[in-house]
Amino acid sequence: METKKTFKFFTIYEYEKEQNYLREMHRSGWKFVKVSGFGIYHFEKCIPEDVIYQLDYNQDGIEHKDEYVKLFHDCGWEYLQDYVGYSYFRKPASQADETEEIFCDDDSKLQMLERVFRGRILPVIILLSCIFIPELIASIIHKTYMITIMFGAVICLYATIFIMFALQYWKLKGKK
């Protein structure tokens, strides 16, 4: 079986982009096998098919895996794997309603973003405020500017991610 690996990095809020990527790959004859390590996507050659890929972020579901996967399976979704808190599902478009997703209203999409926020964003904000920001201030006081640049860069990077995440959340909230 011919296989292929790609490296792709999707930040925490780019799950829609990731879903589209996996769908596009399947459509061009590369079936998603798994994602592992630091964004290494494994594919195997297949007959091109339109398959819908969906990501859910649900800690409670991962803890009650059997019941969680069973519900998706009953609704025609194949469970693939978990990866950094996200669970991966797919369903051939031929068996799905047009534009079918695993969420049927904006409220539940917002709730998923809230779960991502609590599970992934909030811990980082706490880490940044308790360690990185005090270190940054200390480095300015001690005039160790290399460290200032280092911590400053990390803080800027995460701040960008938070802002992008917040924008996505408010966009969805406004649509509601």
Binding site: D60, Y68, K70, D74, C75, E101, Q111
Partner: protein, 104 residues
């Protein structure tokens, strides 16, 4: 009824409404999906991500309770608080309907 429940469920989403309505009798997530599909002639199609999230949330908020598990499917039923919230919502919808029918 506490403020949180009032804020989140009055008014409630169509999904929440149908879940509570179906759980007057014990049922599991997929059973609710099938029932709602039938009683709305396919107009309301509930999906598993929404269903799983809603059931967990409603259980946490005390609107429904877990009864037992059958073949890896969790069976729930509405609680007194859930019935109370559903009644409030029904009254609200009846009022909407009545007002829409009457000449203003």
């Amino acid at each position: 009824m506490n403020q949180h429940v009032k804020k989140v469920y009055v008014p409630m989403t169509e999904t929440a409404f149908y879940i509570l309505l179906c759980l007057k009798k014990p049922n599991h997530g997929y059973g609710i999906v099938q029932t709602v599909d039938k009683i709305t002639d396919g107009a309301v199609r509930l999906t598993p991500g929404t269903m799983y999230g809603s059931l967990s949330k409603m259980e946490k908020d005390g609107l429904i309770r877990f009864i037992r598990e059958e073949d890896k499917r969790k069976i729930y039923q509405i609680t007194d608080l859930g019935s109370e919230v559903l009644q409030i919502e029904l009254k609200r919808i009846e009022r909407l309907y009545r007002n829409a029918r009457e000449e203003i």
